[in-house]
Symmetry: C2
Subunit: 196 residues, 2 copies
């Protein structure tokens, strides 16, 4: 195989979830059927690496010092929602139920993978949450073991500094039939039941 | 989401088998955890698009006029093996049983996808096979419907020009247990049985 092709296959393997066979298939596909796409991807990667960094306030990806969301005057600056990734933030935005600001951890605590408090920018979060304006921090990390542990850790840390901390409600999903919901979720929904 | 990030996500979707969620995950991963990899991929793509083209003889990807295999004096120039992709050629090379040359179609006949004889460079193959040195063409396209149709088409075309054409043997795979081999394969193995 030619040197450039080997280098390309090797580079494609850096993408998450791509093994040697997929990388080879992608390289052949781009060179055979979509050189324009390869060129576009090359430029997009270069441009993103050059231009994209972290928002000074919320830590998400942005090309400015402060991202559009943090810069938005219409937002309720007393609410700060903590999410693991920009994708999670997008999902919450799509619900149109939250008008506060965000903090994006860009990860979750995961001791087994060597990801500790420093790697998810908790110092930056503490400084952000203690700006004197934020009155409630809403923890919206995932409801996985690691996400729950991360929420617990952050909760303890912020409550020690006198901040009000809340967590997204757990319970039966909208449209969920009890017969098909797992027992853990029903147990939690029972414990957290609300008066109507 | 920032412009550069949107552009990158869109560009990653040009990769075969990558949908919007995967593209987003890849973009976030590269920017968060592997900017060096992103940079490397950008350069690899640019370099490959610039440098890689088709071998004048066998049609595979190469950076020279003629690829290393076609240029190899040790090869038996009377044998020409036709494969669909460079990956197939690599597989055959790994068997160490074939010392002839190759012709890489870079595809297969597939009328439903609009892929006709021109798209798989059959004119170039005919010219190559009629160089006066090649005495046998070994068809090693896949044993799928499309690969079989491609082999049949090429076989008729080359036999009409007086060339000897052969096809890889079909039969029970090495290590195969009859109980678990499909009936079509066993039927073919029965028809093609060899005296011992």
């Amino acid at each position: 195989m030619s040197k450039s092709l080997e280098f390309l296959t090797e580079a494609l393997r850096r993408l998450p979830g791509i093994g040697p066979k997929s990388a080879q298939r992608m390289a052949f596909h781009l060179l055979q059927h979509d050189r324009e796409g390869a060129d576009m991807l090359s430029r997009a990667l270069h441009q993103a690496v050059e231009a994209v960094h972290h928002c000074a306030l919320c830590n998400t990806f942005t090309e400015e010092d402060v991202c559009d969301t943090c810069d938005d005057e219409q937002r309720d600056r007393r609410l700060l929602c903590v999410v693991e990734t920009p994708a999670d933030q997008l999902m919450i935005e799509q619900t149109l139920t939250y008008k506060g600001l965000y903090f994006v951890l860009m990860g979750r605590l995961s001791p087994l993978d060597g990801i500790g408090p420093k790697d998810i920018h908790l110092e930056k979060l503490v400084a952000r949450a203690n700006d004197g304006v934020v009155s409630e921090v809403v923890l919206a990390t995932n409801f996985t073991n690691e996400g729950e542990a991360t929420a617990h850790y952050i909760s303890e840390m912020l409550k020690a500094r006198g901040l009000k901390v809340s967590r997204l409600a757990r319970g039966v999903p909208v449209g969920g039939e009890l017969e098909y919901v797992d027992a853990g979720t029903i147990a939690r929904a029972m414990l957290d039941r609300r008066s109507t």
